[in-house]
């Protein structure tokens, strides 16, 4: 199967899935979306395995790495600045602004911890250390 055919099939499956989920939401049925999403993912996986062409290669990974790093930096800096500003604004009243600011600050801390752990892991993996 060519990648073009797979893309067309994927589009059809996504449209059907979106329709079913939309219908379930309108009718207040929260159980239908879960099996629909699982079934759609499984069907997509089956079709994906039939694609013989190389779809993802090192250039795609390289782009993903650069994009991830840029997103990490932008989100980290923006969330830290906005979080600090919200904490400062809501400091006196302990309002919702303060809580949102605190949440953002913790999110940045969590992100930095994950980054640090990932950095240690890859630094060890790609160095001579044992």
């Amino acid at each position: 199967m060519s990648f073009k055919t797979y893309t067309a099939i994927r589009m059809v499956i996504i449209i059907i899935m979106a329709g079913l989920i939309g219908w379930a939401v309108v009718n207040g049925n929260a159980l239908i979306p879960v099996p629909v999403i699982i079934a759609a993912l499984l069907i997509l996986l089956l079709f994906r395995r039939r694609v013989k062409e190389v779809v993802v290669d090192e250039r795609v990974y390289s782009i993903a790495e650069k994009a991830s790093y840029l997103a990490f930096r932008i989100f980290g800096i923006a969330a830290a600045v906005i979080g600090a500003a919200l904490i400062a604004l809501g400091w006196e009243s302990s309002s919702d602004l303060y809580k949102i600011g605190l949440t953002l600050a913790y999110a940045v801390c969590g992100l930095l911890v994950i980054y640090y752990i990932a950095h240690i892991y890859y630094n060890r993996k790609y160095s001579g250390k044992k």
């Binding site: 062409e53 190389v54 993802v56 290669d57 090192e58 250039r59 795609v60 390289s62």
Partner: protein
């Protein structure tokens, strides 16, 4: 600035106008990567460089040149 040039376009021509798609299949990458390489917008890994050279049946130096 250091730069890595390549002869992919010329080598494709020398190999009976091998298509970008065919080279991509032989080297195990996408056609977009071959396009990016020919335009000098992407520098491949050593592994891919060897695969491309292997697809043409030539040495690495015949495909890629380092320009200091």
């Amino acid at each position: 600035m250091a730069r890595i040039n390549n002869q992919i376009r010329r080598l494709r021509f020398d190999h009976g106008e091998m298509t970008q798609e065919e080279l991509a299949q032989r080297a195990g990458c996408t056609r977009q990567t071959i396009i990016a390489l020919e335009q000098g917008k992407y520098v491949p890994s050593i592994e891919l460089a060897f695969k491309i050279a292997g697809a043409f049946g030539v040495s690495l130096e015949e495909v890629f040149q380092y320009e200091a």
